[in-house]
């Protein structure tokens, strides 16, 4: 059994509950034990780094200091948290004198998608597949901070990332080529400039539909929420009916593993994925 520390982050306690549920579900099937970080606090998100860079580093470092009490790696599912932690790691190595926290860059920080896309775990994933996702065309959507900036994420193919596509192939799905896989959905403006969010999200949904995807897959709670919840509004605005389910990649892993809670996770989505998956004979 592999053991790893786990920082869920605020979104996974709320709107992204099904992301949390599906991560815990597939981890258990893969015999990975998650140790939720004790007494974790918010990473600071956009609001901290947009207004006070040093405060942003301290808020992230507090959690990393807690993680540093054990030897385990730290698994992070939310892209915003992951990015903030990686920035804190970079800063603590380059400018340790600026950081008040006891954290000193000593925790391996792993984004959930990157973690599941590594060779040894991919092999384990292959063994657990009971229901391959045959015939399902997926648009893999990476968004911004999973890949950018590479000096923080360490991702080499940041203009055309492929790792989620490979994972989907392992699961038996068909990842489609499309050109918006690392474009921004506008999440940081979600409650303030919804007009911009609609414009950016609309472009993404349009392009995914044009590429004939059955579903869009993501590993970011903000992207998922943005793209999933505003399709009705967009329909009224641009006259295009998207009806494109937005799934977490871990939900599709759970589906391929035959996890018993898949229906429960998918029931939380605003744009219904069950109809599409049933039509493909996957549910």
């Amino acid at each position: 059994m592999k053991e790893i520390s786990y920082y869920p982050g605020c979104s996974l306690e709320g709107t992204a509950g099904e992301y949390d549920g599906s991560i815990r579900g597939v981890a258990s099937i893969l015999d990975i034990k998650l140790h939720e970080l004790e007494d974790w606090t918010c990473c600071g998100a956009s609001s901290a780094h947009c207004t006070n860079e040093e405060l942003a580093i301290e808020l992230a470092a507090r959690n990393l200091a807690i993680a540093g009490k054990s030897e385990r790696e730290l698994l992070v599912p939310c892209v915003a948290c992951y990015s903030r932690f990686k920035w804190a790691e970079k800063e603590s190595k380059e400018h340790p004198e600026k950081i008040h926290s006891s954290y000193r860059g000593n925790v391996p920080i792993r984004y959930v998608l990157d973690f599941f896309c590594e060779e040894p775990i991919l092999e384990e994933i292959k063994k657990k597949i009971t229901k391959p996702l045959s015939g399902l065309k997926v648009a893999c959507y990476y968004g911004c901070l999973t890949v950018r900036p590479p000096k923080v994420t360490g991702i080499k193919d940041y203009e055309n990332p492929q790792h989620m596509d490979h994972l989907m192939e392992y699961l038996g799905a068909e990842p489609i080529p499309w050109s918006y896989k690392a474009d921004c959905c506008g999440a940081s403006l979600v409650l303030t400039r919804t007009d911009i969010v609609r414009k950016l999200s609309g472009k993404l949904l349009s392009m995914a539909k044009e590429s004939e995807a059955d579903v869009l897959v993501t590993g970011c709670p903000m992207c998922q929420s943005n793209l999933d919840t505003r399709q009705d509004e967009l329909e009224k605005e641009v006259g295009e009916n998207f009806n494109l389910p937005i799934l977490y990649f871990t939900e599709l892993m759970g589906l391929a593993f035959g996890h018993k809670d898949v229906k429960k996770w998918l029931g939380h989505h605003i744009t219904d994925p069950i109809k599409v998956l049933s039509a493909k004979g996957l549910m």
Partner: protein, 187 residues
């Protein structure tokens, strides 16, 4: 190799301030406009990202710090990864927002900085973000109670809205972090 400085403008106070705070070589910008060409939010900005860098080179402090642009930047880092001179423009935007808040200059965007301030207040008082509390606090400030009300109801019915915050105890440490900044012990 260090980037070649192709612009010959003299260093000015604002340029030095931004360069020092961000650690970025703003003088290296030669206006290729690649940042603005790839920026997904450029269409809504009042000053394009490449123009922001030019204004900094020319000491236009008020023009930059009162712009909409610095608050509309979505921090997606597309500009930063495509800059041929390796200028991290998104990071400079962080620096500019911080400077704008301390400058007393009227902000070009009202709701975005307000949202950030409500968000940070929520972290300070609760340690974690409980989405519903954040939303209520923000709406109390904007008084725009109807925006997204229908969506909120739909999300509630799908079990996406958690009514009560989780219980944990990290709050005191978080308050100490915020207090250090507020007392001016830190910037």
């Amino acid at each position: 190799m260090d980037p070649v400085q192709l612009t010959n403008q003299k260093e000015n106070a604002f340029l030095l301030e931004v360069a020092q705070a961000s650690g970025e070589t703003i003088q290296a910008c030669y206006q290729c406009q690649k940042c603005s060409a790839g920026c997904p939010v450029a269409y809504a900005m009042d000053i394009l990202p490449n123009q922001i860098l030019r204004h900094i080179q020319y000491d236009h402090r008020e023009r930059v710090l009162s712009s909409k642009t610095i608050w509309l930047c979505a921090s997606c880092y597309t500009c930063s990864v495509r800059c041929p001179n390796n200028i991290d423009i998104a990071k400079i935007m962080d620096t500019l927002r911080g400077l704008a808040l301390h400058s007393g200059i009227k902000s070009g965007e009202k709701e975005v900085p307000l949202f950030h301030s409500v968000f940070l207040d929520t972290i300070k008082s609760k340690g974690r973000i409980h989405e519903l509390s954040l939303l209520i606090q923000f709406k109390l400030k904007t008084k725009d109670f109807f925006k997204d009300a229908g969506l909120g109801w739909k999300m509630y019915r799908k079990g996406k809205i958690k009514l009560f915050p989780s219980k944990f105890g990290g709050g005191r440490e978080i308050k100490e972090i915020f207090n250090a900044f507020e007392k001016g012990e830190r910037n």
